[in-house]
Amino acid sequence: MTRLITALIIGSIFGAGLAIAGMLNPSKVVGFLDVFGDWDPSLAFVMGGGVLVNAIGHRFVMKRKAPIQCATFSMPTSTNIDKPLVIGSVIFGMGWGLAGLCPGPVVASLFLNGQAMLPFFGLMIAGLLVGRIVMRRLV
């Protein structure tokens, strides 16, 4: 139960952060990606702030033997730079550029604009599941 409550609180910090940052507005996101047009560099500061806080804190957290609420740190094990990593990221970038939405903001704006976001969320999950099948075929 306490694990669920912390996850809920952490999720809401994330969601509020996205809202404050302007990440929930697809038009703002595309303004950032529109480097060759009227460019709004704001969202570089989102990435900057996020990476900065996390990078500094991460060093201290990793000195712990284990996380506070579970037995082990679950870190990604794969280290090789392969075709799926690059091709998948390129496909994701296309989707991100087309609608100005990446998975975090999709979830966080589900109730801000449910009429548009619920179908988007559903199709995104369909894409996730198809992608997983593709990955299984590749490996």
């Binding site: 996850a7 994330f14 996205l18 992608g131």
Partner: protein, 143 residues
């Protein structure tokens, strides 16, 4: 290239970014998990245990609740302006899911978490999706 000074909001962007980074840090500190939203959603499906599903659902619920609480507290509406509709909007949704599953991560997992851990894999992923997104917007807006 021109800079859109009228819509430039570095302070709120940085503050929001810091909160996103803090959330990523807390998730690692408390639950030992990378805060990658595509991965958190993906883990809801398949053979996950109920404890595995639980924290994921709680996190996602929190992510939905966070902006609503922010809106209630500040009484400032959160702006949402679509840039796509119809087929473009729905194709985008499918591509976002497909790409993050094949590329093992999105802006939060590879971006906020991967870069902070100095993961070479994440750095390549971020460069790939940034370049692809910038190229896509350039094609849609200027050709």
């Amino acid at each position: 290239m021109t800079i859109a000074w009228a819509s430039f909001t570095p302070m709120s962007a940085f503050l929001g970014g810091c909160l996103i980074g803090l959330a990523a840090l807390l998730l690692m500190m408390f639950q030992g998990r990378i805060m990658g939203v595509s991965g958190i959603i993906g883990g809801l499906f398949g053979t996950a245990s109920s404890a595995e599903r639980g924290w994921r659902l709680a996190f996602l619920l929190g992510a939905v609740a966070g902006p609503i609480m922010w809106q209630v507290i500040t009484k400032a509406p959160i702006i949402w302006q679509a840039v796509a509709s119809g087929p473009q909007f729905y194709i985008a949704a499918f591509l976002v899911g497909l790409g993050t599953a094949i590329g093992s991560g999105c802006t939060s997992g590879h971006g906020i978490c991967g870069l902070a851990r100095f993961s070479p894999r994440s750095l390549i992923a971020v460069m790939a999706f940034m370049a692809s997104a910038v190229a896509t917007v350039a094609i849609v807006n200027h050709f």
